[in-house]
């Protein structure tokens, strides 16, 4: 994913993508990085410097909260959990995303195999 168009698309959708993952279950940063890389088949490989600022923006907006989680003898980790406001925000973004995709497809059309 190197072209400018792809970079901009990724940047625009990243916040929604991260919020949707945190909505599924509370996760720490590395879990999110792995999950995104795995589900996208390696097409989306984020660095820490890209993911964490997105999490901080979501946290500042009240969509997620961070807390320390310790399990067994493992080192405590900072885990992000969605809030009610975050769920509402995700639903709103999903609606916008779907209507946006439909609108853009009216111009460029869906690719036919």
């Amino acid at each position: 994913m190197d072209s400018r168009f792809e970079r901009q698309l990724k940047r625009g959708a990243l916040e929604m993508l991260v919020l949707s993952l945190v909505c599924e279950k509370p996760a720490h940063g590395y879990e999110l990085l792995s999950e995104i890389a795995q589900r996208s088949g390696g097409a989306l490989t984020l660095k820490e410097g890209t993911l964490y600022p997105v999490l901080y923006r979501l946290e500042d907006d009240g969509c997620i909260v961070s807390e320390w989680s310790a399990s067994g003898r493992a080192a405590p980790k900072k885990v992000y959990r969605v809030t009610d406001a975050g769920r509402e925000e995700l639903a709103r973004e999903r609606r916008i995303w779907n209507s946006f995709c439909r609108m853009i497809n009216q111009f460029v059309g869906e690719e036919t195999p």
Binding site: H28, G29, Y30, E31, L33, K47, E48, G49, T50, Y52, P53, L55, Y56, S66, A74, A75, P76, K77, K78
Partner: protein
């Protein structure tokens, strides 16, 4: 790492040095730094617990410069890392005051004891109290000390504070203007001490040299900052 590391830091484990190096390169408010460092630590712990070696983790994350640059660019685009040198002019300004105070008190003492102590003066430059020493000064001119200090100390302070302002403000045009003002002040000071009403005997030019040199260094720093 490009920077030479201090000896005591060498005893720290490489992963700790790596994390410290990232933190040192973050040009962000303390609140953001704390958030980032706790997340980086969590990530490293999670990856290590998943079986990755610290060497592999560091290699995959990138150099401290790269990691910090990503955060800086994402969270404060356009802002550059602040140099610790920005406090240098302020420290020099404070240093310039110390010998000046010695001279003022010396001058007051000379005025009080007038004739008997008039041929002993304390010489100090703007390079710190270590340069203060006692010397024979010839015929007593106690007011010279007071006048020269009262004239020069504010000049040194002005030039030093100009440099400090420029380091903080990073304003190119201001840097040039202040640099030129610094040059003007410096030459005026030289003229006053060489030919002005407060001209003193040759021994005191020696004590002025460090202060004038300090001013010159600050002017050069100012002009250099103005080019960036």
């Amino acid at each position: 790492m490009n920077r030479p590391e201090k000896k005591n830091i060498q005893f720290l484990p490489p992963i700790k040095r790596y994390v410290n190096a990232i933190e040192a390169r973050l040009a962000l408010p303390m609140r953001d730094k704390v958030r980032i460092m706790t997340d980086i630590s969590s990530t490293i712990s999670a990856r290590h617990e998943a079986g990755e070696s610290y060497e592999d983790i560091m290699k995959d994350m990138g150099t401290p410069e790269e990691v910090a640059a990503q955060f800086n660019e994402e969270m404060a685009p356009g802002r550059k890392a602040r140099s610790p040198l920005r406090f240098l002019p302020l420290i020099l300004a404070a240093a310039a005051c110390i010998p000046a105070l010695f001279q003022v008190f010396s001058g007051i003492a000379l005025v009080q004891f007038f004739s008997s102590v008039a041929d002993v003066g304390i010489i100090g430059g703007a390079d710190g109290p270590t340069s203060v020493f006692i010397t024979s000064k010839g015929p007593g001119t106690p007011f010279d000390n007071v006048l020269s200090v009262l004239t020069f100390a504010p000049v040194a302070l002005v030039v030093c504070l100009l440099g400090w302002y420029l380091f903080l403000a990073r304003k190119t045009r201001a840097a040039r203007v202040c640099g030129m003002v610094g040059v003007l002040i410096w030459f005026l000071t030289m003229l006053i001490f060489c030919f002005g009403p407060f001209a003193v005997e040759s021994g005191q030019y020696f004590l002025l040299a460090p202060s004038l040199l300090l001013s010159l260094i600050l002017i050069l720093v100012t002009l250099r900052a103005g080019k960036k």
